[in-house]
Symmetry: C2
Subunit: 355 residues, 2 copies
């Protein structure tokens, strides 16, 4: 790709939790690469959170300089040119008016329906903005609708960070495993359940294990979203739809969490050398794709065995390339932020390709 | 990518060994995908081999129909419109004149200098043809020169299948791990040495192990190219240059094969739970990249331990995404052919992007 003089890229950050906070220093860290390879400079045109308010800046603030602030949000709203708006919808509109062409959607997830992220994404696409999200809900529930909307408005919707963070699973299928014919996958996708199970194996009670996982910042306030397999079911939906060309919804994933496993059975399985883990799997059988999330005993020779601690792993079974496995070792939040940045880069490159 | 009516894609196959032979049925198998997603039909404009001759067809023969022949080469030369030419250079020129826009270079490798593939590739690029190769030599020795040549003539040079077959390592770096900052890798890249070592561990003599590996079609007629670490050094060079932005030649890879290991030490290490494997590794340290191929004892907790039998594995250490690992389970020749097909698809897509 030739270097070219291009206007700065103005983005909106909607949601300012751990991922958004990790995104700013990551952009700063990779700013030289972004300038050299893409010729772009990233400006933040707005930061919005439900608790702390929605702020838009008329010109946009350099991501690199915001990253140096200990408190980027207060720093952002104190800048001359910053103004506060009332709600997310006004925020997106005002950001668009201030020249933002990309919405990064990172609000907290409501697992039942993917809201409010779904509304934010719809609005941005209709307004002609590209959207990058790490939010599983809207993609698991409404990818088809959202992609039709994106196509209609000639914009992009990207969501690499929804599954295995920045490990390029979605992009792998789109850009590098073309025509490979993925027929099935089998994976450990939910960090919390792996961690809780391994702590129980090592002697912790269920409650202790959950509290430790929460203290590590891995389990959510409501741990049962993970432990009942909902998180894994959302990810399995997204992978089935994108890797296996399925058209399924999260409720079509057969789902069995680890709630009903006794502590004794968990420890016995581990002692017998076949520890139990929450496995996500899907398989194309003719026109159908069968997907499930289910606790399984992992045999010693099973490649999923490499998924120790918080490590995620997925095996892809393909027609043309046999079986291949990808492992993400003990990810931290920077990995999710990298997934977002990777999507931002793809958005920029695809704009140029189609331009 | 929108479907579009496009002329058929005419390609030349230079070299007709196992990979080329596996390529034809693979194209036939994926022809529906190629038609649906890219709108292309693949025609073979020429097949050339040093032993059996160089043949060009004036219109090109459908890859799909050639794939149905038990002996594709005789079938190709018996077609009306087929003509025999004297040598590889005439073959490339005649193929170009017959409308071929892509050379697939799969001739046998001379490890010392990458010839004759290097000359073939140079000629095709200068003639304005895109080139896809599975040939390590020309890429390890002359990637920079060849890519300059390709840029100058506005054509592409792709070589995914040179390392880990069709596992998308090169494309991963180019298309999906953008800005990730790969700082180091560590890998098992040479199947023959892994297999020979594991057979020795199980009681075989060195000669027996080599013969068995040859009988399986894995070791070459000269097994020492693999066992002395040359194959791994070529692959390490290619990965260092493409993943770590090094500028090294194969002789700059510190290379130690398994020739000097005693059978006793190999078996003792395995009995002690730390089997020896030929490890390829490279690391960026400031402006320098240090690369080596060296036998190492693989600890039980080492991720390379998953590289059992003929399985290849690579761990990438990155600035933005921590460590990730890719595993190619017990590949067969179709995997290499898939790497070639994957490059052909990328060539077609990139032509459209830049057109």
């Amino acid at each position: 790709m030739p270097k070219q003089e291009v206007p700065p890229l103005r983005v909106l950050l909607l949601g300012f939790g751990n991922v958004a906070k990790a995104f700013l220093p990551l952009v700063a860290n990779r700013s030289e690469w972004l300038a050299r390879e893409l010729g772009i400079q990233l400006l933040i045109s707005g930061i919005g959170t439900r608790r702390q308010g929605f702020f838009v800046h008329s010109l946009g603030i350099e991501a690199v300089s915001l990253a140096q602030e200990e408190q980027p949000l207060p720093a952002f709203c104190q800048q001359r040119g910053s103004s506060r708006v009332t709600d997310a919808a006004t925020f997106i509109q005002a950001g668009r008016d201030a020249g933002a062409s990309l919405l990064i959607e990172l609000t907290a997830l409501q697992p039942q329906d993917g809201q409010p992220a779904l509304s934010h994404i719809r609005q941005a696409l209709v307004a002609g903005m590209d959207v990058v999200t790490a939010n599983k809900g809207p993609i698991a529930y409404a990818q088809t609708e959202l992609q039709q909307l994106a196509r209609h408005h000639h914009v992009q919707l990207r969501f690499e960070a929804t599954v295995m963070d920045g490990l390029p699973l979605i992009n792998l299928a789109q850009f590098t495993l073309q025509a490979v014919g993925i027929t099935a996958f089998r994976a450990l996708l939910n960090t919390t359940s792996s961690l809780v199970l391994s702590m129980i194996e090592q002697g912790a009670t269920v409650d202790d294990a959950i509290q430790q996982a929460q203290a590590l910042g891995i389990a959510e306030a409501d741990p049962w979203y993970d432990l009942d397999g909902w998180d894994a079911a959302m990810k399995t939906t997204i992978l089935a739809n994108n890797l296996l060309a399925a058209q399924i919804m999260p409720l079509q994933v057969k789902r069995e969490g680890i709630r009903n496993l006794s502590v004794a059975s968990i420890r016995e399985a581990a002692s017998a050398g076949v520890p139990i883990r929450l496995v996500s799997q899907a398989e194309r059988i003719g026109e159908q794709v069968l997907a499930e999330v289910v606790p399984q005993r992992i045999l010693p020779e099973d490649i999923l065995r490499v998924g120790k601690g918080t490590t995620s792993v997925i095996s892809l079974h393909t027609e043309a390339m046999g079986t291949m496995t990808l492992v993400e070792h003990e990810p931290v939040v920077t990995q999710t932020a990298y997934g977002v940045l990777s999507d931002v880069i793809t958005v920029v490159r695809q704009r140029r390709n189609s331009g």
